[in-house]
């Protein structure tokens, strides 16, 4: 049996679902943050798969997608830094990392 694009997309989708389930189920904000990273990486995986799938006339993968992935990784790194800083600040203010305890958005 050969590998098709759908295999990769399925894996990517499952990883996304796992990440989304984590976001919905876990209460610890750091773990929620990790799950967000999982979701981002799932998207990256599908992008790379598409890159490999769409071989151009020159016989090479479509590197635009890889550049996009590169950007996503970069932004994700920055996001992690800012996000973790916010979490630290939040922890200092509230002494908790539990989202259930952080409900100031309520009216």
């Amino acid at each position: 049996m050969t590998l098709t694009l759908n295999h990769y997309l399925l894996v990517s989708g499952l990883l996304f679902s796992i990440g989304f389930a984590g976001v919905l189920l876990r209460r610890n904000i750091i773990i929620i943050f990790m799950c967000l990273e999982l979701m981002l990486n799932a998207a990256n995986l599908s992008l790379v798969a598409f890159s490999r799938f769409n071989v151009g006339a020159d016989g090479l993968p479509n590197f635009n997608a890889q550049v996009l992935t590169f950007f996503i990784i970069t932004v994700a790194a920055a996001e992690v830094a800012v996000g973790l800083a916010i979490i630290v600040a939040l922890y200092r203010a509230r002494q908790t990392t539990h989202v259930e305890d952080i409900t100031t958005l309520k009216f």
Binding site: L3, L15, S17, G19, Q66, A77, I87, T97
Partner: protein
């Protein structure tokens, strides 16, 4: 790529992904995440994206994970106390995630265009794929402006992090 390797790394990746969600201890979650990312890097290799695979290892498995661990240590987070489950919330969350996955399967199952093997790369004889060069060329020729913007973004993020952290030190 060898399908066996693909299945191996995929299952490992998904398994450790589930471990990230399921572990009570944040440190264990973080370590599972590292493994998951390593497997993902392996999948990238299988897709002939060597540069991205190495970036994945360096940035995610390296820098990001260190940050996570550092913060977990800094905040001295213990394993979660067994709190009272809100069964409705858990059930609902799982249901949505499952529904999402099911929809995915449905979409892929009815998508014949993707149900084809990956085409072969046409490379000059005796050369391997120099993807680093191609990514670099694409990045600096076609996407220069976004690249610059990303640079600014990182700068802003750096400043922002300092500001957020500093304020608390007052």
């Amino acid at each position: 790529m060898n399908p066996i390797l693909f299945y191996l790394f995929s299952i490992l990746m998904l398994g450790f992904g589930i471990a990230v969600v399921a572990n009570r201890n944040p440190v264990a979650s973080a370590m599972s995440l590292v493994v998951s990312f390593f497997c993902l890097a392996a999948l990238y290799v299988g897709l002939d994206a060597y540069f991205l695979a190495s970036i994945q290892v360096v940035v995610y498995a390296g820098a990001v994970m260190v940050l996570f661990l550092f913060i977990i240590m800094l905040l001295d987070l213990k394993a979660e106390q067994r709190r009272k489950f809100n069964k409705l919330a858990i059930g609902g969350g799982a249901l949505v995630a499952l529904a999402f996955a099911a929809q995915l399967v449905g979409v892929l199952g009815s998508h014949p265009r993707g149900d084809k093997p990956f085409p072969e790369l046409k490379l000059p004889v005796g050369e391997s794929l120099n993807d680093l060069q191609h990514v670099g060329e694409t990045l600096f020729s076609l996407h220069t402006l976004p690249f610059q913007v990303i640079g600014v973004l990182i700068l802003v993020a750096t400043i922002g992090v300092i500001v957020i952290s500093k304020r608390e030190l007052k």
